[in-house]
Symmetry: C2
Subunit: 359 residues, 2 copies
């Protein structure tokens, strides 16, 4: 087994709890029965409650990773008659742009930098858009947008508001009713701290109303909704991960609810950021989520060299950036089963690496 004894601070997969891991060692049960339907209903109800979805909302459970959630949402909800405003602040924004281009959805590539879009009204191109598509947390750079401001803007302009919440759910606040969100995309291996392989698309009644008949079996949301009425999926679900999701959502409740999970993540993120202030590392953006801290070396060191040293010399996994920013930025996740004590591992490793005594 690779990396079993490493401390993990990557933004997916993230550190999982012992309770969830133990379910992974159970025999996968048969699922075409009412017992498994109850699991699916429990997952659906608790998810909808967690994001404060409006009455009548539904969850699509896809056996797939997050990109399939993003792509299938676009496929099922937008057509050639739409014009999507796609917020592009990095790699995942670009992915939504690519998805729209691939499926021939008219769209504006709305490139943004150094803003959390509180001022979207002034910044967005003045064009007739029918949808607003955004990654709530642009994970490639660790940048969180203002969901409320974008929701106001989308509502005012009668746009369908599609939010990829994959890398901020559970660690950062998301309230579908308050932010007037029509569609939320979530995934198992980020804040939900489950193995990768399950993606969820949460649809409000307004979004359900807009569903298209599409040329796809595997991504056909109407089929999923129909099967979902009896707590089933059209094709074999990620049974084990759904059992883990059921337990995880109950765990979040038992620990004081989603507010408490968010507060924990914030406490850990603040602690980490405060604890490394003496090091030659700068926060990459002022709009950082609780989910993750993005750091840039201020002493000219290569970010990739730091990532490699943490892995090789301290058995600590943090995450490099891809492409041009590989040498400039690295990321430390606070998602999953995080505590201050566990976070001390990476804090101490960074201090030791720099030869700085921790204050």
């Amino acid at each position: 087994m690779i990396f079993e004894d490493y401390a993990i601070f990557t933004p997916g997969p993230v550190k999982m709890s012992e309770e969830i891991l133990q379910i992974g060692a159970k025999q996968t049960p048969y699922f075409r029965n009412s017992e498994f339907s109850d699991v699916a209903f429990s997952c659906e109800n608790n998810l909808l409650e967690m994001v404060n979805a409006p009455e009548g909302s539904k969850v699509i459970f896809l056996t797939a990773s997050g990109t399939a959630g993003m792509e299938s949402a676009v496929m099922n909800l937008l057509t050639e008659n739409d014009n999507a405003l796609v917020v592009n602040g990095g790699g995942f924004g670009q992915r939504f742009v690519d998805i729209c281009a691939t499926h021939k959805i008219p769209h504006t590539n709305f490139k943004v930098k150094d803003t959390n879009l509180t001022e979207i009204e002034n910044l967005a191109p003045d064009e007739n858009h029918t949808a607003l598509v955004v990654n709530a947390h642009e994970t490639s750079v660790g940048h969180l947008y203002n969901l409320d401001a974008m929701g106001e803007y989308a509502a005012k302009n009668k746009m369908l508001y599609i939010v990829d919440a994959i890398s901020m759910l559970v660690t950062d606040p998301l309230d579908m009713q308050q932010s007037k969100i029509d569609v939320v995309i979530a995934s198992s291996q980020k804040g939900l701290a489950l193995p990768p392989g399950l993606t969820m698309v949460i649809l409000t009644p307004k979004a359900i109303e807009k569903l298209q008949d599409i040329n796809s079996l595997y991504f056909n949301f109407k089929d999923y909704l129909k099967n979902g009425e009896r707590g089933q999926t059209p094709y074999t679900p990620a049974v084990t991960i759904m059992l883990q999701l059921e337990a995880r959502l109950n765990q979040i409740k038992k620990r004081g609810g989603i507010e408490q999970s968010i507060a924990n993540a914030k406490e850990v993120a603040d602690y980490f950021r405060e604890s490394i202030k003496a090091l030659p590392l700068k926060e990459y953006t002022p709009y950082m989520p609780n989910a993750m801290t993005t750091l840039t070396p201020t002493d000219g060191k290569s970010a990739m060299e730091i990532v490699n040293a943490l892995e090789a010399d301290y058995k600590v996994m943090v995450c490099p950036n891809g492409g041009a920013e590989r040498e400039l930025v690295f990321r430390v996740s606070h998602m999953g089963e995080m505590t201050k004590t566990y976070t001390d591992i990476v804090i101490n490793a960074l201090h030791d690496y720099y030869g700085v005594t921790r204050a």
Copy 2:
């Protein structure tokens, strides 16, 4: 946890080995590194060896269930200029027909019954087909087709030969070179005895040559091949299941190779079929695989009633059929971690249910 103490004889999920289950309880490691690439390469090489794929073949690892493997194979390999001969002997053959229809691939719905297609030459409609698409084992009825005969026919007529081997791999023989197969679709939760959520598409050089540029990110095989060169996938893989796959393929080798696994499955299937001869149950088809036994009550009893009684009174899970055959047929799987001793559980339960003393 549901059904933990039940004996499981369903054709997916199937009984898993303790070694594989334990990997499910390990922290999911970070995967964008050479250590995980080695896992992917190991899986690819061992899979290709297991099916005797021709030199230069590649494996696409999709985070998805089997239908996505079937659909993406059609999407990437067939176009409106093709004419596919789709063998339809039940629910999964019909699914291939639906996939072709959805993606506007010209096709013939080749309905078959009471034949394993050894005589395909005489049975197939005399039309110019460019591809032969078949489920090696039509799981809905437990019917195994003659892969060699179909391969001869496809080769003679210069057809691309696409085989869904999902529910017969590991329990029944499949040799890509001998049967002249161009594409094999496999899935994690059948004979491979892993949790559901990973689907593999094995492409020969001839199939790779035929790959199209398609309007999809998640199912774009060319992207998977490109990332596969360095042992990676374009989107988050089912990391845990791939670690389990690596272990499982090594387990098959250590146990004497694929031939031994097939021999074991045959021994268990034969034992089961022999042991229930005194009961009013008839084998549904003469072309049964080692993977599964399909049974029809001969005393007018409802198949569904038997399924329900086994579950409720004996904690034994077998599988009902869907649709019209719900009352006529039920299925007993021999896939996964099966032994004669374990199979005695269902044999004894059936005898007790009928009030017949086992011979």
